[in-house]
């Protein structure tokens, strides 16, 4: 039977929803599922992890040098813990993408990146070529299976769990060569882009940072998260953490609004698991209409005010 270890993603206070999504993937693999919470003073996060349904154990490793998820410090600890497991999972967020290959290399295996489906305990599907092809990949028996889980492909595990929490000491000292300096976050009070049930996104057609406020207004009215195309980020209308797409965030909201987004393949890759896609674009030939469930050819600067009126 598989023994699966999930590396929890958190900010010191709050467990990231991506962890519960990894739990769903782990449950599909089948077996005992534990969660590792690394950090400094992680009792609160550990309690949140223990409350996810279907978890056997939460293992905490708390130390000053583990406060921030620096891969150089976290990877040796995870590799040591993983010696007792057949599988080790982390979400395919920038956190997991940074950490997990370092773990895999220390364990001497290749990693499965962006796992979409579990076919059996050692066979998985994952996207390549920006999602233009899906491959079925399997690992030989006996080796550790290391993977990142494509969060947009999995629902967060439900249920009320009461896993035991076990504290362990760090097995490795501070690497000494990598130091955390700080984080500049522009998120604000809006729903998190990666977990919001509704997301409103704007593209290059917004034309300026000032004009982008029309997107924020509509999103606030709808209680939605806000995203953007790469073109809008590159043009400087919005910060990088709002980018939706292959090189930004891959999201799966119930409802996705694309305003003035042409629909480059890189963007489509980031939204194709959305429940319903609404596209508004002046250009009737825009590729976004090929994937939109509901399309409207029109000027977003006319449509958005009309929408706001109709929603009042």
């Amino acid at each position: 039977m598989s023994k699966i270890l999930i590396v929890a993603e958190h900010d010191g206070q709050q467990l990231n929803l991506s962890t519960a999504k990894c739990v769903s993937c782990a449950q599909k693999i089948g077996g005992d599922v534990d969660i590792a919470v690394l950090g400094q003073n992680v009792d609160g996060v550990a309690a949140q992890a223990a409350a996810i349904g279907g978890i056997s154990r939460v293992i905490t490793v708390s130390a000053d040098h583990l406060e921030h998820p620096l891969a150089a410090n976290w990877a040796p600890e995870i590799t040591t813990l993983a010696a007792d497991y057949s599988h080790v999972l982390a979400p395919s967020t920038t956190f997991g993408k940074d950490l997990m290959p370092r773990v895999a290399a220390l364990a001497g295996v290749n990693q499965f990146s962006d796992v979409m489906e579990v076919l059996d305990e050692r066979t998985f599907t994952r996207p390549i070529y920006a999602g233009n092809a899906i491959i079925k990949v399997s690992a030989a028996a006996g080796s550790l299976v290391a993977m990142t889980v494509r969060t947009a492909s999995w629902q967060a595990a439900a249920g009320e769990g009461q896993a035991s929490i076990e504290a362990r000491d760090a097995s490795h000292a501070d690497s000494g060569h990598t130091r955390y300096v700080g984080l500049k976050s522009e998120g604000g009070e809006r729903p998190d882009l990666q977990s919001a049930p509704m997301v409103v996104s704007g593209g290059r057609a917004l034309g300026s940072e000032e004009n982008f406020s029309i997107i924020y207004q509509l999103a606030d009215k709808l209680g939605a998260g806000v995203g953007a195309s790469r073109a809008a980020v590159d043009a400087g209308y919005v910060p990088n953490d709002m980018q939706v797409g292959q090189t930004g965030k891959i999201i799966a909201p119930d409802l996705y609004w694309a305003f003035g987004i042409s629909g480059a393949i890189q963007h489509i890759t980031g939204i194709k698991d959305a429940g319903t896609i609404v596209a508004v674009n002046k250009d009737a030939e825009a590729p976004i209409f090929e994937v939109a469930d509901i399309g409207l050819v029109g000027d977003l600067f006319t449509v958005i005010p009309e929408l706001e009126q109709l929603l009042d």
């Binding site: 290399a105 300096v181 509901i294």
Partner: protein, 248 residues
């Protein structure tokens, strides 16, 4: 200080990749091949550091058959001083690629190894982190700004929560994201000049690296397609349609 830049030969980003009908792979017959775009950004950063006097030499390295010499020549034309081909019979999975890069790193002793954050063919996003692990040195992934200051580098990283800054001691591995810089265009005289720059060929076996592609790729399939939906004429119809579907 030397900077080593890893570059990979991949299907050009403008090519719409198609899966072969028998599911044995993707159709690369006659398609345009290029330097992985993230690796071009990595090379551009290395060249700018050299031009700013922070580095003395930029070496491009690629693993592959002789066809990857084309991309190494592109790197030389962009401005790299010399090139190394790690000669292999077939593609390497990330762990073997990292092991091969480690051997070259140990030979060359660079202060920085810069790579793209991922290759746009297999989208693995692993090699840089793996090299850093095997080398037991810092990693700064998804870089959008790199500032060198003596024996350390301050790197701004594009992470989901925003922009994170870390400080690493050199030598270190940096993997780059899209917004770090805009790579220069190659000019014709530079292509001519690149032909005379040194390109060493190191067979993988000579480096003492065994190919361990431990993940077996069984089949390729096209992605599930979203069906084209409906078009509405007015904002009222749009709102009505969303209400009908219980989404508003």
């Amino acid at each position: 200080m030397k900077i080593l830049v890893g570059i990979k030969r991949v299907v050009d980003y403008n090519v719409r990749v198609r899966v072969l009908p028998d599911g044995s792979g993707v159709d690369t017959e006659g398609v345009k091949m290029s330097v992985n775009p993230f690796d071009e950004i990595a090379l551009e950063e290395a060249l700018r550091l050299r031009e700013a006097g922070k580095a003395s030499e930029v070496i491009v390295v690629s693993a592959g058959g002789d066809e990857c010499q084309q991309q190494l020549r592109t790197g030389l034309a962009m401005g790299a001083d010399r090139a190394i081909q790690i000669k292999t019979d077939g593609p390497l999975q990330p762990l073997s690629a990292a092991r091969a890069l480690l051997k070259v790193t140990e030979r060359e002793q660079p202060g920085l190894v810069i790579l793209g954050k991922q290759a746009i063919d297999d989208d693995n996003n692993q090699t840089g982190q793996m090299l850093a692990a095997l080398w037991n040195r810092p990693q700064a992934t998804f870089a959008s700004e790199v500032v060198l200051d003596g024996e350390k580098a301050t790197v701004t990283r594009e992470v989901d929560a925003g922009l994170e800054t870390i400080e690493v001691d050199l030598p270190a591995v940096v993997t780059v994201d899209l917004r770090l810089n805009e790579p220069r265009f190659v000019k014709l005289p530079d292509i001519m000049k690149a032909k005379r720059k040194p390109l060493d060929v190191l067979p993988l076996e000579e480096l003492g690296v065994a190919v361990e592609n431990d993940l077996a790729i069984n089949t390729y399939s096209p992605p599930p397609q979203r069906q084209k939906g409906i078009m509405v004429e007015t904002t009222e119809q749009l709102v009505q349609e969303l209400k009908n579907r219980g989404l508003l």
